[in-house]
Amino acid sequence: MKFEYAPAPESTSIVNIKSKNDLFIDNEFISSKKGSRFITINPATEEVLAEITAATDDDVDLAVTAARKAFKSWAKLAGAERAKYLFRIARIIQDRAREIAVLETLNNGKPIRESRDVDIPLVAAHFFHYAGWADKLEYAGLGSNPKPHGVVGQIIPWNFPMLMLAWKIAPALAAGNTVVLKPAETTSLTALLFAEICQQADLPPGVVNIVTGAGDTGRAIVNHPDVNKIAFTGSTEVGRFIAQSIAGTKKKLTLELGGKAANIVFDDAPLDQTIEGIVNGIFFNQGHVCCAGSRLLVQESIHDELLSLLYQRLELLRVGDPLDKNTDVGAINSAAQLVKIQELAASGEAEGANRWSSSCQLPANGFWFPPTVFTNVSQSHRIAREEIFGPVLSVLTFRTPDEAIAKANNTPYGLSAGVWTEKGSRILEVTSKLKAGVVWANTFNKFDPTSPFGGYKESGYGREGGRQGLTAYLFAGENE
């Protein structure tokens, strides 16, 4: 019998989107004096959701000034007192989880199942984790008197808007810094909702400031003379530009950039779970994941069997309305990103790789790309070297463990990797030779606030999460 799932859309009545949005500076929503507004849309429908302010240099200056003023008392506050605010924020996030998840899905295009079950629970977990650190900074490994940097400028991407905000703000605040954060221009709404949560938590004015806008706003933060540290997550291209901009200044910098992760499948892998790991590696969040397992390295002896299982599985992926609770793959976040994915996919075909795409029906409006697999890919193809940041998997083969390691490391990136084998000793051997910040064994794309995350080579420097992520917001002060 055919078993069709009836539509199961999550209700949007829980969110209240303001039609015109201001900047959040010094605990108030204030309108920009000179800044213009731009629209933000739902990428699954292209429906306009709201107008967002493009913060100017003056607005950023105001935000940095507020953060500087707040820093003096925030850094002096006992760690246990800062922790109270962070715990409070974490609890409010849990209370309002459904609202945040729906808003995230509306503005980002990711399936509600992911924002509900992955993104927002992790956001709360990060605040809880770093709340616990706030009164234990002397155990961070930087001596008995670690100090916060001061005002931190944070620029985050559009793929995990709220989660990236949490990764940035939670450790910065726990360590005693104050922040000026800019969300990505296509996904500002949950950051503005977070601003409301800061008000609700009675966070002291100026500790968190949210300035919306595009590249110009980001540049104003990076170049502001009174910012002590920049933390950026995004493309390698912009990361390089930021590093150049602050070279020669005293500003500290952490960068979390692109990736082209190898997901290595040995012939003794647990096949059905490996299939799930491959799917989770590259089709989770439409492949808009910097640590996505975008290069599948499969041992030649099981290539055909694995691919046949993979194609069967991919035909089952439910692509469509991100608000439907049964959707597995949602919308591409923007028209610009869709063009980039299409362009790279076309290059794959032009360079001689074989393209397979799911036969799923794509909605008429919005930005969509079907789950796609390229086989017969070689290391020299663009789709094997460049980050696609979309639901496109490149499949390469190897014959021996050495070859797998060599091919996996043969990339300018080094953010993540995966290994699939039932043999424990091989896991230890291979993972120790992979030059990637995170290596997953028999799983993929699993995140936890206690685990540091970050890259090698062109994937950036610095770590987020865990004790290591905390130290990015501290320096060793003189011992008392």
């Binding site: 799932y5 009836a6 892998a269 647990p270 059905d272 779970q273 799930e276 799983t443």
Partner: protein, 319 residues
């Protein structure tokens, strides 16, 4: 079409020549990562089945039930009451489909058979020293022959878990073959008792062993051992059925049994089948739910879906 082992492809006919060959074959199957299998089953359990889809799923689930009584206290009267329930699950609502089968001990199969003689409902009988399976092959064969003679359309046998855990795979295999030989036209369901096999690797290997030996259905549990059916164990067995079908072109049925009590539970199993084997298995011919209290829960949910009101336990019959 029954699983006819004589139609196995040549590559599989000699895997059961010796215990070493059989072991090599079973250990050559890819492993099952427990964390991953649990995660996949948990993800599928989040599928939201509402409105028209739920109503359809409820009727499908009812039609797949092996309505079961396996108590020491079972009597002819109890079995006849169960058969009446099987024919007409809801006294107030004729549109409810009958269940797939009634499952009883072999000595009561004749009672069930005569109570269901004019229906399509099958009589399933447990045999082979159910539930422990601790008896000689001679006893198990006799047990099975009696159940068949009493009119059982389906035999639910248990494997020798002791032999399996001791590595005597060929003994387990040969026993299934021997039982199959005395089943005649009755379908053979092979109960793995996954709660005693413990690891998913064991579940996968036992599934393959049973299918190679001629099982028409593989079944999780007797219901007498905890845990009985679980979603991840069922997922592992469904994957084995899918792979066996791909290799042999032979379709094997699946029956999770024990612990499936609510409509929500039942629908999760249907989702699992839907997203592994697909719609071809979504029929009572290839998928059964071994359960007793589940039926009334499905009836109450069905009533609520159709009227918008909850009914109480007093409005469904206890049989």
């Amino acid at each position: 079409m029954l699983n006819n082992v004589s139609q196995l492809p040549p590559s599989l006919t000699d895997v059961s020549n010796t215990n070493a060959n059989l072991r090599a074959f079973l250990y050559g199957l890819s492993g099952v990562d427990q964390v991953g299998a649990d995660a996949r089953a948990a993800m599928l359990a989040t599928r939201s089945i509402k409105t028209s889809a739920k109503l359809k799923a409820i009727d499908l689930a009812i039609s797949m039930i092996d309505l079961t009584t396996l108590e020491g206290a079972d009597t002819a009267g109890k079995v006849r009451a169960l058969c009446a329930k099987a024919r007409r699950p809801d006294a107030n609502e004729a549109s409810v489909p009958p269940v797939a089968a009634v499952c009883v001990y072999g000595d009561l199969a004749n009672i069930a058979k005569s109570a269901l003689i004019d229906t399509q409902i099958k009589v399933a009988a447990v045999a082979t020293a159910f539930p422990s399976g601790r008896a000689s092959l001679k006893v198990k064969l006799l047990d099975t022959q009696e159940a068949v003679a009493n009119g059982a359309d389906e035999i639910d046998m248990v494997i020798d878990r002791g032999a399996f855990l001791a590595g005597r795979y060929l003994d387990v295999f040969n026993e299934i073959v021997a039982i199959k030989n005395v089943c005649g036209s009755a379908h053979l369901k092979v109960i793995l008792e996954t709660g005693e096999l413990k690891t998913y690797d064991n579940v996968k290997r036992a599934s393959w062993l049973a299918m190679l030996a001629g099982a028409d259905f593989i079944k999780t549990s007797t219901g007498k051992v905890q845990p009985a059916a679980t979603l991840p164990v069922t997922l592992v067995m469904l994957h084995a059925i899918r792979d066996f079908d791909a290799l042999t072109n032979m379709r094997i049925g699946m029956k999770p049994a024990g612990g499936i009590k609510t409509t929500k539970d039942a629908i999760k199993y249907l989702v699992l089948v839907n997203e592994t084997l697909g719609e071809q298995w979504l029929t009572p011919k290839w998928f059964r739910l071994g359960a007793s209290s589940l039926l009334n829960n499905l009836l109450m949910q069905r009533y609520r879906m159709q009227t918008g009101r909850y009914s109480g336990a007093d409005y469904v019959t206890l049989d």
